[in-house]
């Protein structure tokens, strides 16, 4: 069993090995126990300072990272682009170097541009955790998704069938999930209207379907992605599907569809939910949905990632 991550930064799931992911899961098991105790804090990172740089809006991920850092006793500074000098024209490297000059050990960054985390890891001297870079990757989300599946269905992913439904083209969650699940040995099928499925995605070793019924009958787990209304065309005035109502009729998960299946499947959603669009309220609140478990596990998984990366930082 490996004791240390093979990477210095968490830029994406691509680049992580199966032992890396299993080490994160084992460590997260212990942190999950910690966050369910009467006293939820441990002193491990008390001499580490973490900067959370959010160049794009986020509620859940940001809160989850901040809480994870505080539960580990790290010092935390927060930064959001909307209230900063980025608005005054400062470059990314300058912004980050200014923050690092204040002796920060670890950076958690979300950025609207794909590749921002990788770029930064090559330009500045600190550890980076990618909290989402544009349409590229969102590694901690994929880790917490897989961790939640492991918790519900057991540690062996071989032959497990996972469906990812929705806007695959614009989803960093989908890409990270595909890498993560394939590394662990699961089978993956993506589903959505053809306009929202990237060309040549089969090259990643996934199956493709345009029929939700087919996918639901095949899978053990259905991960229903949010329709990202902010990424649907926007200024170019391109529509990827005729209307929300039509999308919902074809790709929305309803209780009737769920009950018509022969087996009981696990329903996941990375949040925030558009109730009544990709998933109905009855499904989101049903026993088959593990949406709130995902949020709790997100905290444990992020604590594990922070702990394992921080343990590599040398003391001066």
């Amino acid at each position: 069993m490996t004791e240390q991550l093979s990477v210095e930064h968490l830029i994406g799931i691509k680049g992580l090995s199966k032992p890396d992911i299993e080490l994160i899961f084992r460590t997260a098991d212990e942190f999950k126990a910690v966050i369910n105790r009467p006293i939820k804090k441990v002193p491990s990172l008390r001499d580490i300072t973490v900067a959370n740089l959010f160049f794009e809006n986020s509620t859940r991920t940001r809160l989850s990272f901040e809480l994870a850092e505080k539960r580990l006793s790290a010092d935390v500074v927060n930064f959001s682009a909307s209230s900063s000098s980025v608005k005054k024209g400062e470059t990314l490297i300058d912004t980050v170097n200014n923050i690092l000059a204040m002796k920060v050990d670890l950076v958690v960054m979300r950025h609207p541009d794909p590749g921002a985390a990788l770029f930064l890891s090559k330009q500045v001297n600190t550890r980076i955790i990618n909290a989402g870079d544009g349409t590229h990757e969102h590694p901690t989300q994929a880790l917490l998704d897989a961790y939640s599946m492991r918790e519900r269905l057991g540690p062996n992913f071989n032959g497990r069938k996972v469906a990812i439904v929705g806007d695959i083209t614009h989803s960093r969650v989908a890409l990270s999930n595909i890498y993560c699940l394939k590394t662990l040995g699961a089978e993956v099928m993506v589903c959505g209207p053809s306009t929202l499925i990237p060309k040549h995605i089969e090259a990643l070793g996934v199956k493709v379907s345009n029929s939700l019924d087919e996918v639901l009958n095949w899978c053990d787990v259905a991960n229903m992605l949010r329709i990202q209304l902010e990424r649907q065309g926007g200024d170019q005035d391109v529509a990827f599907f005729p209307s929300i109502r039509e999308y919902s009729a074809q790709y929305g998960l309803t209780l009737e569809k769920l009950n018509s299946l022969e087996k009981e499947i696990v329903v996941m959603h990375p949040g925030p939910i558009n109730r009544g669009v990709e998933i109905t309220s009855e499904v989101a609140d049903s026993d088959q949905a593990i949406i709130l478990d995902q949020v709790e596990n997100g905290l444990a998984v992020r604590m594990a990632v922070l702990y394992l990366l921080a343990s590599q930082i040398e003391r001066n």
Binding site: T27, E30, A33, V34, R37, I39, E314, R315
Partner: protein, 180 residues
Amino acid sequence: MRPTKLIDEVQFQLIIDRLAHELIENHRDFSNSVILGLQPRGIYLAHRIEAKLKEIAPKTDIRCGDLDVTFFRDDFRRREKPLNPNATKIDFIIEDQRVILVDDVLYTGRTIRSGLDAMLSYGRPRSVELLVMIDRRFSRELPIEPKYVGRAVDSIEGQRVNVQWKEVTGKDLVELHTTL
């Protein structure tokens, strides 16, 4: 150099029997006392003593848990190898209980210091006592002393005390290794 045998299998069992009797002398029916074994190796001693106590006094309800101190250690990022956690299994609250902390070897006292911190996540104990199989005297870096001792060993730097457990290696044995 070949290791020196400090405790053989027979003595090993005698020591556990004696420690169990000492505990009963001080804790009687264990109604307000709990045993916490420190991960990774203190848990074997803790469970061995728990089993012995149940044998001596079958009617008493002994509560025994495993405590992992990894996240509370003071040498995080100061050692070559990373610190990987073990499971903590405590299904009771230690608030106002008399806690008996159990470990196999007491050396610098730093693990016990972390254990005292880790324990506080489960409440404020009325009192804490320390029980160890081997007390390596004269090597303490913190003011921590055991109340119950299996065997006191006077060792010098460079020597290493190795406690083997039936559960792990198939035999109960304590050896002193010397590297010169």
